[in-house]
């Protein structure tokens, strides 16, 4: 495959037509998508939390909590309701529901999942400890004896304790320092057991929950929330990917070496012009051959939607990515997506500055075609051979009036050091503070660039990061 074939095809112009997305209209920039959707989701979260605790508030007459046992039990109930709600939210966040992925984006979702996970762990432990101690005081038992009583005399409590154990295990292995030591597969399968926690923790909420025991709107609503979650999981994890893949039937068309350690994978399929794909978004890919069908990895698409093919540009870093070099044309691919808010549509300003490092150019290259004219790109690479998609960038620069700077060298060389500093950036891009900044590259570069940008006065909400680490 040569670059000449890409020229017209790689550009998104006007509205897609059934004949490959080309039309005579001049290149258009995407309309923006504001933060309204994200804020709505935030408001829904807080409303849900209030609704989860409200039954307790309404059921408890003021002044009825007399004595430490009552107070402990009340606090245990509150933390229990909060934990139940947070568990639902945690699983929902991981349901790959299109709405969430579109409005929040994978990066923000994984961060939220981590923070809420820590809170959930504390809430579950507090719930358990408070209620055991509270009940022990009411019934005059020791704490250990009370645990025995709970396990033997109360319905569904054995499974609830197992669920708590699972959640603690999942939570502890999620701590970054511990997670780094564990093999990925172990961590992944442990995390899968949290579905089991959802199931095992279900029963005791209704057989022993003071607020949920009585039939009524509260109980019905709580059950409805569970049903909605199951529906979301089915839809996001099963039905939607199934529909997408049956409809588009993606398969590998060609694998091209871009540099010594980078390959581009071209994929074709049916009705590609009907995929609602924005430059900068990613899919989770499974290549259905003997070695790779069981693992799924996120890769950005490295060219804007063109109705004829999709392309991934992947740097070889591990055993899985090394296997990608040997993909045979014709191999079927299973894709989930497109996901992500790292797109031209999510900018808050008219113009943008893009900073790429190494293979991080892939999503930015796709996005460049959808940004309004006047964008700027700074491309960091260790050596000239590491610059990928060089010719395509030149074409885009010419057709969309994009300024492109290649900053070559190690981080400590004078050139890159000078550019990657607040005055250096301001000299290259004088209107830096009136632009959105998109960053994609190795973590070291991204962290450093964020520091520099913040020092130069760019606001956090104008900095967009592409980051799939989870």
């Amino acid at each position: 495959m040569t670059y000449q074939e890409l020229d017209a095809a790689g550009r998104r112009t006007g509205t897609p037509t059934p004949y490959g997305g080309r039309s005579a209209a001049p290149p258009l920039a995407l309309p923006r998508r504001g933060p309204a959707g994200r804020r709505t989701l935030g408001a829904l979260f807080w409303l849900g939390l209030a609704a989860a605790v409200l039954p307790w508030w309404l059921d408890t007459p003021p002044g009825s909590l007399a004595g430490p046992a009552d107070l402990l039990t009340a606090a245990g109930r509150i933390t229990g309701l909060v934990a139940g709600y947070l568990l639902l939210v945690q699983v929902l966040l991981m349901s790959r529901l299109g709405v969430l992925e579109r409005l929040l984006g994978g990066e923000r979702i994984s961060r939220l999942h981590r923070d809420l996970g820590a809170t959930l762990l504390v809430a579950v432990l507090a719930h358990l400890a408070l209620l055991v101690v509270g009940y022990a005081q009411v019934e005059g038992n020791s704490v250990l004896a009370e645990v025995g009583v709970l396990l033997t005399d109360y319905q569904d409590m054995v499974s609830a304790f197992v669920a708590a154990g699972i959640m603690v295990t999942v939570g502890v292995t999620g701590v970054r320092a511990i997670r780094r030591v564990l093999p990925y597969e172990l961590w992944y399968h442990l995390h899968l057991t949290s579905y089991l926690a959802l199931l095992l923790g279900y029963g005791h909420q209704f057989s022993n929950g003071a607020q949920l025991y009585e039939p009524g709107p509260v109980r019905t609503g709580w059950i409805a929330a569970y049903l909605a979650l199951v529906a979301a999981l089915l839809w996001g994890r099963l039905l939607r990917p199934l529909h997408f893949n049956l409809r588009h039937r993606l398969e590998v068309a060609d694998v091209v070496a871009e540099s010594t350690d980078t390959v581009s994978i071209y994929l074709t399929g049916r009705r590609l012009n009907q995929i609602d794909l924005l430059g900068g978004q990613y899919f989770r890919w499974r290549f259905l051959n003997a070695g790779g069908w069981w693992q799924s990895h996120p890769f950005s698409v490295s060219a804007a939607a063109n109705g004829r093919w999709l392309r991934l540009t992947v740097k070889v870093v591990g055993s899985h990515t090394a296997d990608l070099r040997d993909l045979e044309p014709g191999t079927r691919a299973w894709a989930e997506g497109p996901f992500g808010t790292f797109t031209a549509a999510h900018r808050t300003r008219e113009r943008a500055l893009l900073i790429a490092g190494g293979s991080g150019i892939a999503p930015l290259r796709a996005m460049l075609e959808e940004l309004p004219a006047g964008a700027a790109l700074i491309y960091r690479a260790r050596q000239p051979a590491d610059v990928l998609l060089h010719e395509e960038l030149e074409w885009i620069a010419r057709s969309r009036q994009t300024s492109v700077w290649y900053v070559i060298g190690s981080r400590d060389d004078p050139g890159p050091r000078q550019v990657m500093s607040p005055p250096g950036l301001r000299r290259l891009v004088p209107d830096l503070l009136r632009r959105d900044v998109y960053l994609c590259g190795p973590p070291g570069l991204v962290d450093h660039a964020v520091q520099v940008l913040r020092a130069a006065g760019v606001r956090r909400r104008n900095i967009h990061l592409a980051n799939f680490e989870l």
């Binding site: 807080w46 508030w57 059921d59 430490p68």
Partner: protein
């Protein structure tokens, strides 16, 4: 990670605030359902102020005697390690009496739980039960319709249900035989009792 710390702190503070708000006896004697829902989210700075104020004269006989009010105030509910450890250290002392099943809990603490005022066309009914462990040991009607025929009916209901050997204590539940000729009062009594039982649970 910083946000997780904020969230955890918020959880602890929110839980404490909710418990303190509910625990403070000076909260308005309005039925809980009539409180604005917004107060749930607001961490209560108003709670100490309410507590400091003298108890407002309530229209109906209040079920919570004064000594209990102070009891609910003293243990600042910090729903974390401090509360847990305090309880665990005191627990082993009791272990000799401990190995017993739930149903026959020792009479450790007698709690009084007051049901809500239930209004029917003859007047108000309010019931207070005394609970020891999980057992009802006494049941008192704080308020019943009075005067004339209503008063006579109330007396019959009271005689059948209340007291340490009344039907409530015998049956340990709110499903009681309706007193003939006093259906409304019987029903209201059972409603208030059921609510009290739900609270006590």
């Amino acid at each position: 990670m910083r946000r997780a710390l904020f969230a955890i702190t918020g959880l602890a503070a929110g839980t404490t605030a909710l418990v303190v708000l509910k625990g403070s006896p000076a909260a308005t004697p309005v039925a809980a359902g009539e409180l604005p829902a917004g107060t749930v989210a607001v961490p209560g700075e108003s709670a100490p102020a309410n507590r400091a104020a003298t108890r407002p004269p309530s229209a109906r006989p209040s079920g919570t005697p004064a000594p209990k009010a102070s009891a609910s105030r003293t243990p600042r509910p910090k729903p974390t390690a401090s509360a847990t450890t305090k309880a665990t250290t005191s627990a082993p002392r009791r272990t000799t009496a401990a190995p017993r099943t739930t149903t026959a809990a020792p009479p450790a603490t007698n709690r009084k739980v007051t049901g809500p005022v239930v209004t029917n066309e003859f007047g108000n009914v309010q019931v207070q039960i005394t609970v020891s462990g999980t057992k009802i040991v006494n049941c008192v009607a704080l308020e019943l319709p009075s005067g004339g025929q209503s008063g006579q009916r109330s007396d019959r209901v009271d005689a059948a249900y209340s007291g340490t050997s009344g039907q409530v204590v015998q049956r340990q539940s709110a499903s009681l035989d309706t007193v003939s000729g006093a259906t409304y009062t019987s029903r209201s009594y059972q409603q208030s009792l059921q609510a009290a039982l739900d609270q006590a649970r």
